[in-house]
C-alpha cells in the first residue's frame, strides 16, 4: 500500500509535469510517452462481474503494453462520477481531478458536455484506432441521444433492447411482438413481468421503448416542451397504470436493475425480462446464472438502441493515459474479446469491412451463444429521444409512483 501511495504521488507529480507540456491527441507518439507510468481512474458502473472482469483484463494489457495503470472505480451509478467532476469544478480543482475516464452516455454525457466538463476539443476521431470505427452505418456513434458527440467521447460498445424468456416455460409462438401485446400478455399472466425501477437505466429504457411506440416520435427528438409534455406522455402513463396492476408484486415493488431481473427469471418469478445487451442471456447461461433453455426475442417494429462511450473530464489527472486507454478499448483485439459472450458479449462499434482479414476472422469465429440473436435477426434500431425526455419521464415516474397508493 505504501508503495502504491508513493507511486500515486509520483504519478501525480509526473502528471503535473506533463500538464505543462499539454496533451495533444493528434501527436500520438507524445501521448504514448506521456502516458507511461500514469494511473488512470476509470469510473465505470461496477454492477456486473463479467464487465468488471473484462476491465480487469484491459488493465493487465494496458500495464503490459503501455505502462499505464488502470484502476476501475466501480460506480453504482455513473452520476457519481459526474457529481465528482461537478464538485471538483465547484471547488476550483481544475487540474489533477480524480476522474480520468468515465463510462458514459445519454443524460450524463449531455450534462457533462453542456457544462463544459469534458476534455475538448474533440479527440476521439484522432485516436489511431478510430479508423476501424463504423460511424457511417451506426449513427448513434456520432449522435448520442440526439446530442452530437463531436469527438468528445470515444465509442466503446453498442446496445439494443432485447427480450429474454425461458423456452421451457413459454411457447415462442405466444411471445408479444410489441408493447401493447406485452401488456396483454402480462394481463393474461399476472405477476410475471416487471421492469427495473427508474431511474435505473434499463428501467428507464423500457419507459422510452413504450414512449417511442406510443407517442409522436418527432416530438421526442427535440428537448421536452412542457406545454405538451403531459399530453405526449399520457399514453405512457396509461400503459404503466394498466401494467402495474398485473405486474410482479402488483407493481408495489420493482427489481432494482437488470441483474436483479435476471435473478428473478432464473428463480422463475418472472417470465419475460429484457436487457440492453443482446448477448446477456448467453453469457448468463455460460455462467450458470440462467438455465440453458433461455432464448431471446425482439419487437419486429424496432427496439431502443444506443452507443455507450468513454469520455475524459476536463480536469483529468492522467489525460494521456486516458487517451491510450480509450484507444485500446476500440482496438480490434479488445473489441473481439468484448463481443465474446464468454467474457462480456457486448456488440462491437467497429466495422467488419474496415478490419484487417485476421481481425475479421476473429470476430467471425466468436460463438455468440445459443440465446443470442444474430445481427440480422435484431429489430431495427430506434434512436433515443433527447436526454431531457429521460429526465422528465423519470421525474414523472417518481412523482406518480414513489408513494404507495
Amino acid at each position: 500500500m505504501l508503495k502504491r501511495l508513493l507511486a500515486a504521488a509520483l504519478a501525480c507529480a509526473a502528471s503535473f509535469a506533463a500538464h505543462a507540456e499539454e496533451v495533444d491527441p493528434a501527436d500520438w507518439d507524445q501521448v504514448l510517452q506521456q502516458a507511461q507510468g500514469q494511473t488512470v481512474y476509470f469510473n465505470a458502473w461496477g454492477g456486473a462481474e463479467n464487465i468488471n472482469a473484462y476491465i480487469e483484463w484491459a488493465a493487465g494489457e494496458l500495464k503490459k503494453r503501455y505502462k499505464v495503470t488502470l484502476k476501475h472505480v466501480k460506480l453504482d451509478d455513473t452520476a457519481h462520477a459526474v457529481a465528482t467532476v461537478v464538485a471538483e469544478k465547484a471547488a476550483g480543482r481544475d487540474q489533477g481531478g480524480s476522474v480520468d475516464l468515465v463510462w458514459i452516455n445519454g443524460e450524463n454525457f449531455a450534462a457533462m458536455k453542456e457544462r463544459g466538463l469534458l476534455f475538448s476539443p474533440g479527440w476521439a476521431e484522432n485516436l489511431p484506432n478510430w479508423r476501424y470505427v463504423d460511424y457511417e452505418n451506426k449513427p448513434t456513434i456520432t449522435t448520442d441521444f440526439t446530442i452530437p458527440v463531436e469527438g468528445l467521447a470515444s465509442p466503446w460498445g453498442m446496445a439494443q433492447l432485447v427480450f429474454f424468456y425461458d423456452s421451457a416455460r413459454m411457447e415462442a409462438a405466444k411471445l408479444p411482438r410489441n408493447a401493447d401485446e406485452l401488456l396483454a400478455w402480462a394481463e393474461a399472466n399476472p405477476g410475471r413481468f416487471s421492469y427495473p425501477q427508474p431511474p435505473d437505466f434499463t428501467g428507464s429504457s423500457f419507459l422510452k421503448q413504450v414512449l417511442l411506440e406510443k407517442a409522436d416520435r418527432s416530438v421526442l427528438e427535440r428537448p421536452v416542451d412542457e406545454e405538451i409534455f403531459a399530453e405526449a406522455t399520457k399514453p405512457l402513463s396509461d400503459y404503466l397504470d394498466a401494467l402495474h396492476k398485473v405486474a410482479w408484486r402488483s407493481g408495489r415493488a420493482f427489481p432494482q436493475n437488470y441483474p436483479a431481473m435476471k435473478q428473478l427469471l432464473a428463480d422463475g418469478e418472472l417470465d419475460i425480462i429484457f436487457a440492453f445487451n443482446p448477448a446477456e442471456a448467453s453469457s448468463a447461461i455460460a455462467n450458470g446464472e440462467l438455465p440453458d433453455t433461455v432464448r431471446s426475442f425482439t419487437f419486429p417494429g424496432g427496439t431502443l438502441a444506443n452507443t455507450h462511450f468513454v469520455a475524459i473530464p476536463y480536469n483529468a489527472n492522467a489525460k494521456a493515459g486516458a487517451l491510450v486507454t480509450a484507444n485500446f478499448l476500440i482496438s480490434p483485439e479488445a473489441q473481439v474479446r468484448k463481443e465474446d459472450p464468454a467474457y462480456w458479449g457486448d456488440p462491437t462499434v467497429l466495422s467488419m469491412d474496415k478490419l484487417e482479414p485476421d481481425a475479421r476472422a476473429a470476430f467471425a469465429s466468436i460463438d455468440l451463444g445459443v440465446a443470442t440473436l444474430k445481427p440480422e435477426e435484431l429489430a431495427p434500431a430506434l434512436g433515443e429521444p433527447h436526454p431531457s425526455w429521460m429526465e422528465r419521464i423519470e421525474d414523472e415516474w417518481k412523482r406518480r409512483y414513489t408513494a404507495e397508493n
Binding site: 500500500m1 501511495l5 481512474y41 469510473n43 461496477g46 454492477g47 462481474e49 468488471n52 472482469a53 480487469e56 484502476k71 472505480v73 466501480k74 453504482d76 451509478d77 452520476a79 457519481h80 462520477a81 459526474v82 457529481a83 465528482t84 461537478v86 464538485a87 471538483e88 465547484a90 471547488a91 480543482r93 480524480s98 450524463n108 450534462a111 399476472p190 405477476g191 425501477q197 410482479w248 408484486r249 402488483s250 408495489r252 415493488a253 420493482f254 427489481p255 432494482q256 436493475n257 441483474p259 436483479a260 435473478q263 428473478l264 432464473a266 428463480d267 422463475g268 418469478e269 455462467n287 450458470g288 446464472e289 438455465p291 417518481k398 412523482r399 409512483y401 414513489t402 408513494a403 404507495e404
Partner: protein
C-alpha cells in the same frame, strides 16, 4: 504528558468531525454553500424537500423503524434476561448470540433476505411438497412497503448488541437477592425482574438503546437491502440525492439530512415518552399488586426471540455460503444442481483491493483508537476522575447523531481539503465510530486490573513506560486484543461513512457487497458476505488464541 493529550485528542476527534460535519450539512440546507454561490439565507430548499413526493412517508418509515426496532430488541432482551438469567440456558444462548455482534449489519441483512424471500431458502425447503409452489409465490416479503423485513433485519442485529450491554450492567444489580425478594412476595419471575431489577439495569443501558434508535431511524445499508424500494426510508433516499450529478441537489440532500436529524430527534423524544409510559405502567402494576405469576408464555417468547434471531442469521449465512458455491440453482430445489468454485475464482482478483482497503482502514483506525482509549483511561486513572455523564454522552455522540446528517457535511469539507477518498480521510472517518466502541469495551477490564501490580512494579524502581509495557499491557493482552477486535469489527461493518468518504475510489468488502445488493446475485453476495463475516471473526479469534498461546505456560493468565 502523553496521556493528558489522550482525552483532548479524543474529544477533538469525536466532536470535530461531528460539529464540522453538521455545519457542512445544516448550512447548505439553509442556503449557504459558497462553492455554488449560495450566500443567502433561504427556506426554499426545505420547501423543495417537502414538495418531494411522499417525503413524509419516508420520514414516517424511518421514525417507526427507529422506535419499533429498539422496542422489539429491548423487549426480547428484557424477557430473556428476566426469564433465564442465572440458568444454564442463559449461558448457551449467550454463546449463540454473541458472535452476531461482530457481524456487519449488511451481512445480517443479506442473510435474512436470502432466507425469507419468496425464492429464499425457507420457501425452497417446504416447496413444492407442502406448498404446491413450483415457482416462487408472488409475495412482497423482502422490500415490503411497511419496512417489516427491514425492521426484522435490524432487530436480529440489535438484539446481540443490547444483550451484551445488559450483560455488562447485570453485575451491578443484586439480581438474585431481588428475585428472591420478589418471589417471596409472590411475583412471577418476569414480573419480579421487570419491576425489581429492570429499572436499575435500564438506566445503565439507556445510551446504547438511544444509539439503537438513532441507528435504526437513519440506517442506509440495511434499508437498501431489505427496506421498501418504492417509498424508501428517508436516509436511503438522501443517499441517492447526495449522489445526484446535479450539484444543486446538495441543497436538497442537506435539507433532507436536516429532516433526518429531526426524525431521529423525534424518535428519541417518542422513546422518552414510552419510557414514562413504561414507568407509569409498572408503578401501577406494583400499586395494584399484580403478580403476573403465570409467565411461562412470556419467558418462552423471550427465549424464542433470542434463538430465532440468531437462528435466522446463521441459516441465512449458510444459504449464502451455498449460493457462493452454486452452479445453476433453480426454484424450488433446496440444493444447487451443481457446485462450482467459479464464483470464488472469478471474484478473487476484484475482491483483493477492497479487502486490502478494509484491512488497512480497519487496522489503522483500530490502532489509533486503541492508543487513544488507553491514553484516556490512563489519564482518568491518574487524575482519579471517572468520566461523568456528560463525557459519556460525548463518547456516544457519533452513535446518537445520524450518520447521514454529519458524514455528508464532512464529505464537503474533505472535498475542499482535497483529501476526499484518501486513506487518511477514511481512517479518520472510521475512527469517529471505532473510538467509542474501543473505549467502552476496554473500560471495564481496565478498571478491573489490580493496580497494586503497577505499584509493586513502581516500588521495584520501574518507570512508567516499563511498567506499562512489561506489566500492564501483557497482563491485559486479552482485554486489549478484544478491544481491537471490537474496533476492527466496527470498521469492517461501516457502510455509509465508507461510501461517502471513500467516494467509490476506496471501497471495502461492505460497500462492495451493498453495491451489489440491488442485483440480487446470491453467488457474488455470498462471497462478499463470507468475507464480511470472516474478517471480524478473525479479529476475535486472534484476541482469543494469541494470548492463550503466548501465555500457555501461565495458569494465572487463562480465563
Amino acid at each position: 504528558m502523553l496521556n493528558r493529550l489522550g482525552p483532548t485528542l479524543t474529544i477533538l476527534l469525536l466532536t470535530g468531525p461531528i460539529a464540522f460535519g453538521l455545519a457542512g450539512t445544516v448550512l447548505p440546507a439553509l442556503g449557504f454553500l459558497p462553492a455554488l454561490d449560495g450566500m443567502k439565507f433561504t427556506l426554499a430548499h426545505l420547501r423543495d424537500l417537502f414538495s418531494e413526493p411522499a417525503i413524509l412517508i419516508s420520514a414516517g418509515l424511518s421514525l417507526v423503524a427507529g422506535v419499533v426496532t429498539a422496542f422489539l430488541s429491548l423487549l426480547a432482551v428484557m424477557l430473556f434476561v428476566a426469564g433465564f438469567a442465572g440458568t444454564r440456558a442463559f449461558g448457551r444462548v449467550q454463546h449463540l448470540v454473541s458472535p452476531l455482534l461482530s457481524l456487519p449489519h449488511a451481512a445480517a441483512a443479506f442473510a435474512l433476505a436470502f432466507l425469507i424471500a419468496p425464492s429464499g431458502m425457507l420457501a425452497r425447503l417446504v416447496s413444492p411438497e407442502m406448498t404446491g409452489w413450483e415457482r416462487p409465490p408472488d409475495l412482497l416479503i423482502v422490500n415490503d412497503p411497511m419496512g417489516l423485513s427491514m425492521m426484522a433485519g435490524l432487530v436480529v442485529k440489535e438484539i446481540p448488541f443490547l444483550l451484551l450491554m445488559t450483560l455488562a450492567a447485570l453485575p451491578q444489580v443484586p439480581l438474585r437477592e431481588t428475585r428472591m425478594l420478589t418471589a417471596s412476595l409472590g411475583y412471577g419471575r418476569v414480573a419480579g425482574f421487570v419491576l425489581g431489577s429492570w429499572p436499575a439495569i435500564y438506566r445503565q443501558i439507556r445510551l446504547p438503546v438511544f444509539a439503537v434508535i438513532a441507528f435504526a431511524s437513519s440506517v442506509v445499508d440495511v434499508a437498501m437491502i431489505l427496506g421498501p424500494t418504492r417509498t424508501a426510508p428517508l436516509a436511503a433516499r438522501l443517499v441517492t440525492w447526495m449522489n445526484d450529478p446535479d450539484l444543486s441537489m446538495r441543497y436538497l440532500a442537506s435539507a433532507g439530512a436536516l429532516l433526518q436529524l429531526a426524525v431521529t430527534g423525534l424518535a428519541l423524544a417518542f422513546w422518552l415518552g414510552l419510557e414514562r409510559l413504561g414507568a407509569a405502567l409498572s408503578k401501577r402494576a406494583a400499586i395494584r399488586g399484580w403478580r403476573f405469576n403465570q409467565d411461562a408464555l412470556l419467558r418462552a417468547a423471550g427465549l424464542a426471540m433470542m434463538i430465532l434471531s440468531a437462528g435466522i442469521v446463521f441459516a441465512g449465512l449458510a444459504t449464502l455460503a451455498l449460493w457462493s458455491f452454486a452452479g445453476l440453482w433453480q426454484f424450488p430445489d433446496a440444493l444447487p444442481a451443481s457446485f462450482t468454485l467459479r464464483t470464488w475464482m472469478r471474484m478473487l482478483p476484484s475482491i483483493l483491493e477492497p479487502l486490502q482497503t478494509t484491512l488497512l482502514a480497519g487496522l489503522l483506525s483500530t490502532l489509533i483508537a486503541s492508543v487513544l482509549a488507553i491514553l484516556c483511561l490512563m489519564h482518568e486513572e491518574e487524575t482519579g476522575r471517572r468520566p461523568g455523564r456528560g463525557a459519556l454522552t460525548l463518547l456516544y455522540l457519533p452513535l446518537l447523531v445520524p450518520q447521514v446528517a454529519f458524514v455528508f457535511g464532512l464529505q464537503l469539507l474533505l472535498i475542499y481539503a482535497g483529501v476526499l477518498a484518501t486513506l487518511p480521510a477514511l481512517v479518520l472517518a472510521h475512527l469517529v465510530f471505532v473510538m467509542p466502541y474501543a473505549y467502552l469495551s476496554l473500560k471495564e477490564p481496565w478498571y478491573a486490573f489490580d493496580r497494586r501490580y503497577d505499584w509493586i512494579a513502581a516500588s521495584l524502581g520501574k518507570g512508567r513506560a516499563r511498567r506499562f509495557f512489561s506489566v500492564r499491557l501483557p497482563v491485559m493482552t486479552r482485554a486489549v486484543l478484544t478491544m481491537a477486535a471490537v474496533g476492527f469489527a466496527v470498521s469492517v461493518g461501516l457502510y455509509l461513512p465508507t461510501v461517502l468518504v471513500g467516494a467509490g475510489r476506496l471501497t471495502t468488502v461492505t460497500t462492495e457487497a451493498v453495491a451489489l445488493a440491488s442485483g440480487g446475485n446470491g453467488r457474488v453476495i455470498g462471497v462478499y458476505a463470507f468475507w464480511q463475516m470472516l474478517l471480524p471473526m478473525m479479529g476475535f479469534a486472534v484476541a482469543t488464541f494469541v494470548p492463550a498461546l503466548i501465555f500457555r505456560r501461565f495458569r494465572g493468565m487463562q480465563v
